[in-house]
């Protein structure tokens, strides 16, 4: 963000410094085969730095730096991307925000645990193909007297094995319903999945007639559409900010490489073909910063153009960010496709985020719908 207050700069700087120390790239590599990708102490300390409390009001123990918690959290997300840091930053925060907005007094304790980092929650939204498209939710949430019953499969769910609770988005009739499901509830099974991200973990979660009391429903039965849309927009803001961070690091590394590497007695930086490539990459990078910041501000403040901006950001950053990072690989030559070089850590982060919460193509379709609505055109 361009116009950060001194407080925001300090806040972002603290996370940046912490990640520099705790998660240097060698450490990320060492965590390659660990089950969680991060440990409790790390998450606790991150919580102390404010990673979990920004989308929750002060009366529940949260609070913001600038008055706009989503913008503040996007600064953390940016640093997560810049460092390819582990931890369920996005889904954990989305659940905390939703409980704070639509939960009851009974959730205060759990919110406190999420804020302190003592407990982790994740959001179970997307489903197996062919229902992995945005908006295509089929998991069935039936109402049976004082109970609800969940049947269906969710994947990928981030850090489901580390989570104590999942916020499950399902369907009741034609409407959406969300239920807070303890991961140890009878009928819930969690299976690890594989991913290209080195530091994040994803799972498949099966709900086989999971019966819970109706009070575990968050918001209205069949009436959670607006809430889910809000969650989605917030999640998009955060993954976009992460992507821009990853792009920034990849770009910085590549620019440096242009000066360090020589061919035919000249630094690579002296070849116009490569200079123009870098100029284009810089253009896409600045555009990504601009649209990511604009979307964060719009969604954070609840502005009506938030939906369009956040989809434009996801579509643009997904498409052009991939291009940028793969160009970074190209400009590194052979070393760019080795495990020992750091570049792939950021490519991995971006690649996974590109596919989460809607692909660029799906967001272009969403934008087309919005353009049509704005123009009031009849097909």
């Amino acid at each position: 963000m361009q116009d950060l207050s001194a407080d925001q700069q300090f806040f972002r700087g603290t996370t940046s410094k912490f990640l520099d120390e705790q998660m240097p790239t060698g450490e990320l590599r060492r965590r390659r085969d660990t089950q969680a990708g991060f440990d409790e102490k790390y998450w606790h300390r991150g919580a102390d730095l404010g990673w979990t409390s920004l989308l929750v009001g002060e009366h529940l123990g949260g609070g913001t730096v600038s008055g706009d918690g989503l913008v503040d959290l996007s600064l953390v997300a940016y640093e997560f991307g810049r460092h390819a840091a582990p931890g369920p930053l996005v889904p954990d925060n989305i659940v905390a925000a939703t409980l704070a907005a639509a939960g009851t007094d009974a959730h205060a304790g759990l919110i406190g645990d999420l804020l302190s980092g003592g407990s982790i929650a994740s959001w179970a939204l997307s489903e197996p193909p062919p229902h992995d498209r945005l908006d295509d939710v089929t998991l069935d949430i039936g109402v049976d007297g004082g109970d609800v019953a969940l049947n269906g499969v969710k994947r990928p769910v981030e850090s489901a094995r580390q989570a104590d609770h999942l916020l499950v988005t399902g369907r009741t009739g034609t409407g959406l319903t969300q239920v807070l499901v303890p991961t140890d509830a009878a009928g819930v099974s969690v299976e690890p999945m594989r991913t290209v991200d080195l530091t994040r973990r994803f799972d498949r979660v099966i709900f086989d007639d999971v019966r819970l009391p109706a009070r575990t429903v968050i918001g209205e039965v069949g009436g959670a559409g607006g809430q889910v849309e809000r969650q989605l927009q917030m999640a998009l803001v955060l993954v976009n900010a992460e992507c821009v961070g990853a792009m920034q690091t990849g770009f910085d590394m590549t620019l440096e490489w242009m000066f360090d590497r020589y061919s035919f007695g000249r630094p690579l930086a002296s070849y116009q073909e490569l200079k123009h490539r870098l100029a284009d990459m810089k253009t896409w990078l600045e555009a990504s910063h601009a649209i990511s910041d604009a979307a964060a501000a719009a969604v954070g403040s609840g502005s009506p153009d938030g939906a369009e901006l956040v989809s434009a950001a996801k579509a643009f950053i997904g498409e052009y960010g991939t291009q940028l990072l793969q160009d970074c690989v190209q400009l590194h030559g052979g070393i760019g496709v080795t495990f020992d070089h750091d570049l792939h850590l950021f490519l991995r982060r971006h690649t996974v985020n590109r596919a989460l919460y809607g692909t660029p193509a799906e967001h272009r379709q969403r934008i087309a719908d919005l353009v049509e609505q704005q123009k009031g055109v009849v097909a």
């Binding site: 116009d3 601009a290 604009a294 579509a315 272009r364 097909a379």
Partner: protein, 418 residues
């Protein structure tokens, strides 16, 4: 002026709104396009109306928002300009007077002109009496701006100009030009240039129109034969034209991003661009086609991102967190995106891009626009030159090697004329 004397933005906005609703005509989306849409007579009528609208704005105290009052402006801030732009959305505006008259020409006068030059021309521009052009490019090459061959030779209190300028959009209906000329052939190219104010319809200036590949004839070439210009119409010091030139290029790259320019908000975004992808799709009966919807979404995405990018760069330059050269980033983006937009529309139009009927609605322009696709990557300096600026001056990569750096301009290799 202290801040408490400045009209507050909200009050200004109310005043502007009331005046606009009372005095200007509402219009549909305005395309800042090079399409061949009007006859010469219609074009002249449109130019006259632009001048009239500018005069009305001036009389209403709504012209030259960011220009000091001593030159006839309002002495207000870019925020006031933005408010005016917002209020103008959906209304006619003096389109032909903005670029290049307000920027780069007026901006250059303001930055480098003498007090007398400013007082003579800036109020006239604000009243719509003078339309300015930039006489920069030459037949021998436009990218190498400092390689100008048009010469100016001193004769007492006057200069005598000879040579030719080219690609001047709209010169045939304009009044003045800012002209870069060579005053010294015995020093390296950047050190022998001088900038002059040139009345376009002066004896010795012949304006010839050039037809573009879409039939538009707004492009002009000017032939200068012993044109006499008083020394008082010289801008900046003799042989120091490149200092002026550098500022000139900066203002040119700012384009519609400049606080000196009055354009209804949305003119470059929604109204004239991505929504036309939607209009083309509608008239082609393809709104339900998922591949077409993908393209509509892409067009809109690029416009929305472009607007935010310009805002970021504009703010960055204003607050000096970014160098003026960062404007080249916006230049590349705008050029590439405009070209992509033409491709998108051509794609949506299908065979109607190849052959169309007059009653095909928005489909009728897709083929010709596609032919003209690259203009957005050429006019105002090519995107290759902008990429050079980004890589060399924003990212600090080594400069391209040139063969004319320390050589007297007289001895620099030049293409043989064919």
């Amino acid at each position: 002026m202290s801040t408490d004397e400045i009209e507050n933005v909200e009050a200004f906005r109310q005043r502007a709104r009331a005046w606009i609703h009372e005095n200007l005509r509402p219009v549909g989306p305005v395309a800042l396009s090079l399409r061949r849409e009007r006859s010469d007579e219609q074009e002249l009528v449109a130019v006259a109306r632009d001048r009239e609208v500018q005069r009305m704005l001036f009389d209403a105290g709504l012209a030259g928002i960011c220009i000091p009052p001593e030159y006839g402006g309002q002495g207000l801030t870019p925020d006031h300009q933005q408010a005016l732009n917002d209020e103008l959305a959906g209304y006619e505006f003096a389109m032909r007077l903005q670029v290049p008259t307000f920027t780069p020409c007026l901006a250059v006068l303001l930055e480098f002109g003498t007090e007398d030059q400013r007082r003579r021309h800036i109020p006239a521009i604000l009243k719509g009496e003078e339309i300015w052009m930039q006489l920069l490019s030459e037949p021998s090459g436009g990218s190498d701006v400092a390689g100008a061959l048009t010469s100016a030779v001193r004769d007492g209190d006057e200069w005598i100009l000879n040579g030719s300028k080219v690609w001047t959009t709209g010169a045939w209906w304009s009044d003045w030009g800012l002209c870069l000329a060579r005053t010294n052939w015995d020093v390296p190219k950047h050190r022998g240039l001088t900038v002059f104010l040139l009345p376009i319809h002066e004896p010795g200036v012949e304006v010839r129109r050039i037809e573009m590949l879409n039939g538009n004839k707004e492009f002009c070439q000017e032939f200068l034969s012993d044109v006499r210009v008083p020394d008082t119409d010289r801008v900046g010091d003799i042989d120091e034209g490149w200092t002026v030139g550098t500022g000139w290029m900066f203002h040119e790259r700012m384009l519609y991003n400049s606080p000196l320019v009055t354009v209804p908000t949305g003119t470059t975004r929604g109204s004239a661009s991505s929504s036309s992808a939607l209009d083309v799709a509608r008239d082609a009966g393809r709104l339900a086609d998922p591949t077409v919807r993908d393209l509509i979404g892409e067009a809109r995405m690029l416009d929305v991102v472009g607007e935010e990018l310009q805002r970021r760069i504009g703010d960055g330059i204003a607050t000096q967190t970014m160098s003026g050269e960062t404007s080249a980033i916006g230049r590349v983006f705008v050029g590439v995106v405009a070209a992509r937009r033409m491709t998108i529309q051509f794609e949506i139009a299908g065979a109607a891009g190849a052959a169309w009927s007059d009653d095909d609605g928005e489909l009728t322009h897709c083929g010709t626009d596609f032919l003209m696709r690259q203009t957005s990557c050429i006019g105002g300096g090519t995107i290759e030159m902008a990429r050079n600026v980004i890589s060399e001056r924003v990212l600090g990569m080594p400069r391209e090697r040139t063969l004319d750096r320390d050589v007297a301009f007289r001895d620099v290799p030049r293409a043989s004329s064919r």
